[in-house]
């Protein structure tokens, strides 16, 4: 027996040992670099900053969390970010569904492949380039403005921008503009899971529904949509989580109000207040954990 064969046989008899041995390098990496960092983050959130010397006091305290949850401005940020995440999730689901439905149900062969590539390419195209593109599109003298003027629709845009809450001086500095960019950025993350869920629905189910007398609309509401819901739930995990944590889009295309990600970025950077940045970043972790538990009930994990 060669040495290699001897080793093979040793591990064939001890397969669990082999599994753990394979896991050692990735677990070492994840344990130290990733989990270690997450614990460091948690630890930092229980430290505080000395306001006179601007140095971090390495003593466990709830001071930073008290500061986070008692200042109304901070609570506003949490509510604003959560609202945006929910609005973006709903809009992305509504826009994604017809695309996913078409590519899963009707497109065949080469056309199907085309649709999948056409959805995947923008998803993987540079994040920053896409944000940059929207900044140019939405700017006051930007491309969208040019188009709307050319079609005589600039009045509609101005009316929208005058709307309280979502409006602003231009699309590039309004919540409406930010919302559009978020929906655009995460749309493929919603389309693909919904399409995957719809691909798994046997065509015979739709035939059966039609055969039993349902109109196409009834079939959609009673058969297609319920079966696609796990896909929607799976997609919503991405749209919700990505919106909660983003700080680039609110700072590039944005209204004056702060978002969680921007606070984290700013507190660790210019303010040098890592404890507050850490405490702020625990908020999306909590929100996402709650969301994941809800999504799990909707069967999202089966559709991933």
């Amino acid at each position: 027996m060669t040495a290699v064969a001897a080793v093979s046989t040793f591990f064939y008899r001890r397969q669990t040992l082999a599994v753990y041995l394979l896991l050692v390098p990735p677990l070492l990496w994840f344990g130290t670099v990733y989990l270690g960092s997450l614990f460091a983050l948690l630890a930092q959130s229980f430290y505080s900053i000395d306001e006179f010397t601007a140095t971090i006091v390495r003593k466990l305290t709830l001071k930073t969390y008290v500061q986070l949850f008692t200042q109304p401005a901070n609570l506003d940020i949490v509510v604003r970010t959560g609202t945006m995440a929910i609005a973006v999730t709903i809009a992305a689901a509504v826009v994604a569904f017809p695309i996913a439905n078409y590519m899963a149900r009707y497109a065949r062969g080469r056309m199907k492949a085309f649709f999948y590539v056409a959805v995947m390419l923008p998803m993987w195209t540079s994040y920053l380039v896409k944000v940059y593109a929207w900044r140019l599109i939405l700017a006051k003298e930007g491309i969208l403005n040019w188009f709307l003027t050319a079609f005589g629709l600039d009045g509609v845009l101005e009316a929208l921008l005058r709307a309280p809450g979502i409006g602003g001086p231009s699309l590039a500095s309004s919540y409406l503009g930010m919302f559009i960019v978020f929906v655009y950025m995460w749309l493929p993350y919603m389309i693909l899971p919904i399409a995957a869920a719809l691909e798994r629905v046997p065509g015979s189910l739709l035939s059966a529904s039609a055969d039993l007398g349902a109109t196409p609309a009834q079939t959609f509401w009673r058969v297609t949509l319920p079966l696609a819901l796990p896909g929607v739930a799976a997609g919503s995990i991405f749209t919700f989580s990505l919106t909660l944590g983003d700080y680039i889009i609110p700072s590039v295309v944005g209204a004056p109000g702060y978002f969680i990600g921007m606070m984290v970025y700013q507190q660790q950077g210019t303010a040098g207040n890592i404890p507050l940045a850490a405490a702020f970043s625990v908020v999306p972790i909590l929100l996402i954990t709650i969301y994941l538990m809800l999504a799990r009930r909707a069967g999202a994990f089966d559709a991933l």
């Binding site: 064969a5 093979s8 046989t9 064939y12 008899r13």
Partner: protein
Amino acid sequence: MNAAIEFRDVHRAFGAIVAVDRVSFAIEPGEFFSMLGPSGSGKTTCLRLIAGFELPDAGVVRLGGVDVSATPPYERNVNTVFQDYALFPHMTVLDNVTYGLRVRRVPAADCRRRGEEMLALVKLADAGARRPAQLSGGQKQRVALARALINQPQVLLLDEPLGALDLKLREEMQIELRNLQRRLGITFVYVTHDQGEALSMSDRVAVFNRGRIEQLDSPQSLYTRPRTAFVARFVGGANVIDEKYAVRAEHIEVAGAGAGAPDGAVRVEGTIIDTQYQGAVRRWQVRTDDDQMITATRPEGAATPGGHDTSREPGTRVALSWSRTHMIPLAAD
């Protein structure tokens, strides 16, 4: 001479599920041995224990007298024909067939020659350059067979190999497998849930139920002398009366309600639930007054006692009777 395969108190559990429950048996060299049972009965796990895909939690597995309880599959002189054929899609048919030789570093020229011989043996001499995806189900089956036999194993294991084939091809392959086994003189261990297949091909059959062997016997003994109610039902499709004895359907007389029975016969009354014309025979399902289902068959066209019409309608009251000599006593499960 040592048994080809011997199980001694072999035990294998997956978590809380006991797949093989302290099973002991021996298979003689050159035997065509079948393991028959419903899914989840432990027959496939036993096959995998012979192949080495599973190692026993307790007990001993011997091949040709040698303890292989901890030996990996690649050190056992045993080969398998898989249910899904398991042909490697990235290799040609010839490369699939010669795989066992190539991993043992047999020179390429020998590999090629013996591979072609094996393909000729299974009547696929021209298919060597093709890919598995280009073959029909029956052809894949033959390639899997050739690939398993090229290593000249002591034992060939077949895991429901005919399951995916249509009826006509199945019947042809049954005959072909049986002939091949006689010609090569290798021990065949054949796993199936089809009792007809097991009975028609095997020298002996082990009937599995809930991780144990209920009965290990020749096909004829299993059919005529089932030991338990499970074997009586599963193998022979016999009627089990009061869980105590079995009566074959063809031994049950059907007569009009109120008709008498010969001396020494058991007689019950009931109502016909269903009647089926099955070509050579006619078959009745009768629910007796003490609520047992009994099946009776009669060759189509044979005279029925009392001159009654053979095609009785469901709902008709009838008298069933059978001779005590046809009653097979059963052991408790």
